[in-house]
Symmetry: C3
Subunit: 135 residues, 3 copies
Amino acid sequence: MDSTLLEVRTGGAFACADLTGRITEWLRDRGDGLCNVFVPHATAGVALFELGAGSESDVEQALAALLPRTEGRWTHRHGSPGHGADHVLPLLVAPAVTLPVLDGRLALGTWQSVVLVDPNPDNPERTVRLSFLAG
Amino acid sequence: MDSTLLEVRTGGAFACADLTGRITEWLRDRGDGLCNVFVPHATAGVALFELGAGSESDVEQALAALLPRTEGRWTHRHGSPGHGADHVLPLLVAPAVTLPVLDGRLALGTWQSVVLVDPNPDNPERTVRLSFLAG
Amino acid sequence: MDSTLLEVRTGGAFACADLTGRITEWLRDRGDGLCNVFVPHATAGVALFELGAGSESDVEQALAALLPRTEGRWTHRHGSPGHGADHVLPLLVAPAVTLPVLDGRLALGTWQSVVLVDPNPDNPERTVRLSFLAG
């Protein structure tokens, strides 16, 4: 298995960071297998959705409705107000996804991107681990 | 790694399409390994739950409550009213799951089925990719 | 592929059972590969989040808000009142996650634990399947 770490800049606000291009680049010439995308953080997740047509803000608003950042709502308290919500995010948006790779290419659908979802304003830099198991 | 595409008819309404039988058939005689089930669409997901006891409509109602198809709520707009909600679905219901296979059989629990969840009335036919990595 | 079953005591109330130590133990000396954690139950899921700082009760409250255990709300009815909600849980909290293993160690972040999420008070004992595919 080959494995590498990507450094991803997510900045100081809610972020949907597109990982597709960097994963695609890393997989080139690898043949067939499974690519595991793993976020080693407790307040971020990885998801697949369409970018560029408005879903980034829809995702942000959906998460704000599902896990409100209301001060006092969460038992887990530190950092920014409502940060306890970020600690529940991985329950709904897992920090791991495993994707099929055929002839060195991610077998994504036309409208799918691999996205690091990071609601956390306190961590402007994140790490993502890519692992490839050939088959 | 072996990989194949299934064509799945989901029709013109919310659908929970049972994939279990076709995955089981495809895995026969393959030995031990991991089976990746991947939906190459931006408005569908794959989930494991019990079928035949009412959870299909419970899943539909839960998604309607969590991601309301209210016109005007979503930035991403095209197709049927509220279709922007479908584009957020993969955030909560990922389009990929990887399952253990022992002696050519999915190691599912008694009440688990592998289900394509497709809220989208505009795409009556869907594709699902199965990949098997032997170990 | 190596595979084993863990028996996990979750008791008669909502449970977040930490699996990290037992997975870590089982993986020791295995080298590099992917570890699949799979829950063969229709009313439980597996998630990664921080334990010990309050997120366990935040997870319980978030799920109670997202999937209310209101009697009469769910079509799927048997067992404890509101148990139909437990059957929808795997839609949001999948019963499978695949994690990278490097040199026999789970490549988790500092604050991540692997957690069996079991809202179901009717099943005090659960099973978890671990599978390791070396690469």
